[in-house]
């Protein structure tokens, strides 16, 4: 079905996606004809996710990573733009029609304590997903529950227990099992380990990595944790205030970041080497509000290299080397 190695075939193509959240206006402002404000969470994102790869999506809190993830799966309806899945437009079809396609794209959620229905046992939860999409014959359902539990490293004896009886790490494994129950091609993992203890994080990360390889899954891995991103992903997209500012293979991105924001991010990541003590630079200031996005390059107020042109015109994403794109006027310097 899928290719064993990372193909060049695109599985998910995101074209110019927008999601703005309008703010409530006071009645006087409406009368005074003040322009309506909105939070521009996703502000024109284009991205290609290739079959069989793990694409990392990284950025500060509030930069729109999670909203982008939700907009792809239409948990938030995007305002504008298109998502193609396997070449088919999934944004402009009815919700009813889209439901039939949902089994191919699944999601692993951030908070393992709210992502499992407390009233359903593990078995009920998995069988429900399988029966709704007729993934297998009813008589094979039991066998598949056992298979799924084994896949995520859980004992089959746990299948009759309820979510409240599991730890955070176990719950996250169950969340992964539920996503796998419908045999998806594409999984979005939205900060899947940031709510877990550090000691558990590695286990869940490794589990996701193994599953991705063994099942030839395509994975969009959303995280703010660069160590995790570096460990698990093949390519990384860096997001800043609703836009992708740099896209590169993981190795290259960390060795030679081109966008000044990526440089700051990479430098700010803790290095687990006692000999490395100094830091080149720390980022200054808070990220600007996604309501009042700066003119020109959205990063210029915090950028050490900002010049006049950065305030005036917004740099487009340009391909600067094979497989590397960056949105900066002075990427070469």
């Amino acid at each position: 079905m899928a290719v064993a190695s990372i193909g060049e075939q695109p599985l998910v193509v995101i074209k110019d996606l927008y999601k703005h959240f309008p703010l409530k206006q006071a009645i006087l402002d409406v009368i005074a004809r003040k322009p309506a404000l909105s939070v521009r969470a996703v502000d024109g994102v284009s991205l290609v996710i290739k079959q069989g790869e793990t694409l990392g999506l990284v950025g500060e809190s509030g930069c729109g990573k999670s909203t982008l993830a939700k907009a792809i799966l239409r948990l938030e309806e995007p305002d504008k733009g298109t998502v193609l899945f396997n070449g088919k437009d999934i944004t402009h079809i009815s919700r009813q029609e889209f439901r039939g396609h949902r089994r191919h794209m699944q999601m692993v959620f951030q908070d393992p304590y709210s992502s499992l229905n407390p009233r359903l046992s593990v078995r009920e939860m998995l069988i429900e997903a399988m029966t709704v999409h007729k993934v297998c014959a009813p008589k094979d359902a039991e066998a598949r529950v056992a298979e799924l539990m084994a896949m995520v490293g859980m004992n089959i004896a746990a299948a009759d227990r309820f979510p409240g009886e599991f730890s955070g790490g176990q719950r996250q494994r169950l969340g992964i099992a539920r996503a796998l129950a419908v045999d998806p091609l594409f999984i979005i993992a939205d900060e899947p380990v940031s709510a877990l203890d550090v000691s558990i994080q590695a286990q869940v990360i490794n589990l996701l990595q193994d599953l991705q390889e063994n099942l030839h899954l395509t994975l969009l891995f959303v995280s703010h944790d660069l160590r995790v991103i570096r460990h698990i992903t093949h390519r990384v997209a860096v997001m800043y205030l609703g836009k992708v500012v740099e896209l590169a293979p993981t190795q290259e991105l960390f060795e030679r970041p081109l966008h000044p924001y990526t440089k700051v991010l990479a430098a700010a990541a803790p290095v687990l080497d006692p000999r490395v003590r100094h830091r080149e630079y720390a980022i200054e200031g808070e990220p600007p509000s996604p309501i009042h996005i700066p003119t020109g390059c959205r990063f210029h107020p915090r950028c050490v290299r900002a010049r006049d042109i950065c305030k005036a015109s917004e740099p487009e994403l340009q391909e600067v080397a094979p497989g590397r794109t960056v949105a900066c006027h002075f990427w070469g310097q």
């Binding site: 889209f98 439901r99 089994r103 499992l116 009233r119 359903l120 997903a129 539920r178």
Partner: protein, 301 residues
């Protein structure tokens, strides 16, 4: 939450602390629910007793509640008639016991129909939001704007007195609190990740609402039903008192209180004992409600 766990927290100190969460969980489970809440115990006992009396009044009542006896009019409580007799010479104890059936029935039916209907309205308004929510909640505002009893009286005045019209009136008014409680809980629950997960899995709206939201939002309205049974019985008794509810000669507490009102100076027992019965049953259901809410709160998610 804290008070309920306090006794076993002390007990936890004795055995060597094994994995803390596991032992706490085992401990909590090993305490039977009836030892946690005195209110719940009393409530269950009283309500069970009331149900027994309501279902089998014939086994307990010493006399036929409708047998009149001109020789025994307005007798004070005595060994033969423990609670005395009324102006037709009927045994008051027997009438109070038989009235349990009518009043319990009003309480239960008057709660069950609004519970189902209000829950449905709350689920739809909370889940779909938007125009559906606006319309349903404005309807709720209209009903809330009138006092409960006034609206019930108005509807009965329109439909005419009698037990079925009483159910109709209570049902038309009583769904509102359920709709509000459920809607509020649904607004919270529908944004939880497990509901998002259900949507990502492509489940139908009905499946999400009934299987993933409903079981997780029911607990507070179930607690409310215990109080609501009391409201409905009181409403039923009030209508009986006003002559708009259960019609004589079927025994009913409110109607009995009303009939005894004329003789209150000469024969206090006519109105007093049906009143006590109402208080007793009301207290029982209230205790049950309190105990249930304690239990559901400590159980947590």
């Amino acid at each position: 939450m804290e008070p309920a766990t306090a006794p076993n927290a002390a007990g936890d100190l004795a055995p060597a602390p094994a994995p803390a969460t596991a032992s706490a969980r085992v401990k909590r489970k090993s305490i039977p629910f009836w030892r946690k809440s005195l209110a719940l115990n009393l409530g269950i006992i009283i309500v069970a007793f009331v149900f027994f009396v309501g279902f089998f009044p014939g086994l307990i009542a010493p006399y036929n509640p409708n047998t009149q006896n001109a020789d025994l009019m307005l007798q004070a409580p005595s060994a033969a008639h423990i609670l005395g007799t009324d102006n037709y010479g009927r045994d008051i104890l027997s009438r109070v016991i038989w009235a349990t059936r009518a009043d319990l029935q009003i309480g239960l039916i008057g709660t069950a129909i609004p519970f189902v209907f209000g829950t449905l309205v709350g689920l739809l308004a909370g889940y779909y939001g938007g125009v559906i929510d606006q319309i349903l909640m404005r309807l709720v505002d209209i009903v809330v704007a009138f006092p409960f009893i006034v609206l019930v009286i108005a509807i009965i005045a329109f439909l005419g007195p009698g037990i079925y019209n009483l159910y109709m009136a209570i049902s038309l008014v009583g769904w509102v609190p359920y709709a509000r409680i459920i809607r509020g809980e649904v607004l919270v629950a529908k944004n939880l990740d497990y509901v998002s997960a259900a949507r990502v899995l492509g489940y139908s709206d009905w499946r999400i609402i009934l299987r993933h939201i409903l079981p997780n939002v029911l607990s507070s309205s179930i607690v409310y039903t215990a109080a609501d049974v009391v409201f409905c019985m009181l409403a039923g008794a009030s209508m009986g008192f006003l002559g708009l509810g259960v019609q004589p000669p079927t025994p009913e507490w409110g109607q009995a209180i009303s009939e005894g009102r004329v003789f209150i100076a000469r024969a206090w027992w006519l109105s007093t004992f049906p009143g006590f019965a109402l208080v007793f049953v009301g207290t029982g259901f209230s205790l049950l409600g309190d105990g249930l809410s304690d239990l559901l709160r400590t159980k947590g998610r």
